[in-house]
Amino acid sequence: MPAVFTVDPRSGVPIYLQLIEQVKRSVALGVLAPGEQLPTVKQLAVDLTVNPNTVARAYRDLEHDAVIETAPGRGSFVRADGVAKQTRAATDVAGEAVTQAVREAKSLGLPAAGVRELFESALTRWFPEEK
């Protein structure tokens, strides 16, 4: 089990959402490879000291989002249907990060134009080849 998940129970973000985010991130980054087995609900619950139903809920949602699949009696696995899914998972995770960044910038009182400017300069910095 190469991917190590952590949760912060004190956070206002529900634990199952934290888990979903981390699994998606691991899949997006290839830390969890297609076809790879995830720990059982019980194992992960004990490892993280969190409620098993919470882990089960995260797994159900991940299944629903087509990130993982569960074979009865065998366990849960990262879906093998390739890069498309990983890209989608990456979009989900990145989308949340961008939303948060924009919300944060807005909360500091920046106007939309100012945020766009920051965004453009970040793009230029991280995607120099596309300029």
Binding site: G12, Y16, V41, A45, N51, N53, R57, R103, G109
Partner: protein, 301 residues
């Protein structure tokens, strides 16, 4: 396995109403946290649940059936105050469990004694508070119960053993046991429980799935250019549970994802708006003491 339903439970001691019309549903396989300040009625609720106190009114059902003696075989109760015998040692207490419960698992008992580093030959008289709590926990889990009722199960334990108890609870829940625990340490409930109820003055003031309680509530905070803020529209908004204004800062506690109200505040002219997630402690404090968020309310639990 059983779903436990507490329906309209009331219990009075003379004129004192300790539990007042409490209705709680505890789903099979869940870890249910009962929170509340001291004297809120947690222990009385447990006693009624287990038939140790006679309810003044209301019904308790285990999978639809009222409590019968045969059910006790599969229930473990760890009371808040130790019920250990001072003159007996750990091994003797376990022997008592073995004779009482058909389900008693001696191998499991041995593992649990080792887990808490308890010496079976040590008499209770010579044990610290933490060791006594640990022994009570060992006795409770050694019968592989289907239902566990734990009243402050980690009191007196060091952090390592507290975590060990939480993990025992989680393992049991993963195997389908139903666990009800009271605690004044919200952090523990936050980790282990999937459902909770908050009691105050004998009444349920907040109940639900932990994740839902968290997702449902946010604080939306706006900073306005002046102290004159037109609040009329907000006062009628059913999404808002609480509204606090201090100078140019407006804080809304909302039962919604907050996005809509954040936009409302922006359109009202707020210069800066942010949405803050509420953790369980905030939610608990809001419930037991609206308007006075002091830490000692939690400590008093």
């Amino acid at each position: 396995m059983s779903t436990i339903s507490i329906e309209r439970l009331s219990k009075s001691y003379g004129k004192f109403l300790a539990v007042d019309d409490v209705t709680i549903e505890i789903p099979t396989g869940s870890v249910f946290g009962l929170l509340g300040p001291n004297g809120a009625g947690k222990t009385t609720t447990f006693k009624c649940l287990l038939g140790l106190a006679r309810a003044t009114s209301g019904v308790i059902r285990f999978d639809g059936h009222e409590l019968t003696p045969s059910l006790f075989e599969s229930i473990s109760y760890v009371p808040e105050r130790s019920v250990l015998y001072e003159w007996m040692n750990g091994a003797e207490h376990l022997e008592m469990q073995r004779r009482t419960f058909k389900r008693y698992d001696s191998k499991r008992a041995k593992q649990l004694m080792d887990l808490f580093k308890l010496d079976p030959r040590k008499s209770v008289r010579a044990m610290s508070k933490g060791m006594r709590t640990a022994l009570a926990i060992v006795m409770a889990f050694a019968i592989n119960p289907e239902t566990l009722v734990l009243d402050e199960p980690t009191s007196g334990l060091d952090p390592v053993n507290q975590r060990a108890v939480l993990n025992l609870i989680i393992e049991s829940a993963a195997q389908g046991a139903t666990i009800v625990l009271s605690s004044h340490q919200i952090g523990q409930v936050e980790r282990a429980a999937d459902h909770l109820a908050v009691l105050q003055n004998g009444r349920v003031i907040l109940a639900g799935a932990v994740d839902d309680l968290k997702s449902d509530r946010k604080i939306v905070e706006g900073i306005f250019p002046s102290e004159t803020i037109a609040l009329d529209g907000l006062r009628r908004d059913s999404r808002i549970e609480r509204l606090d204004q201090s100078g140019r800062i407006l804080r809304l506690t909302v039962k919604a994802d907050g996005g809509g109200l954040a936009e409302t505040l922006s359109s009202m002219g707020a210069q800066s708006v942010r949405i803050v997630d509420l953790n369980l402690e905030d939610i608990f404090l809001n419930a037991v003491a609206p308007g006075s968020q002091t830490a000692d309310v939690v400590e008093a639990g």
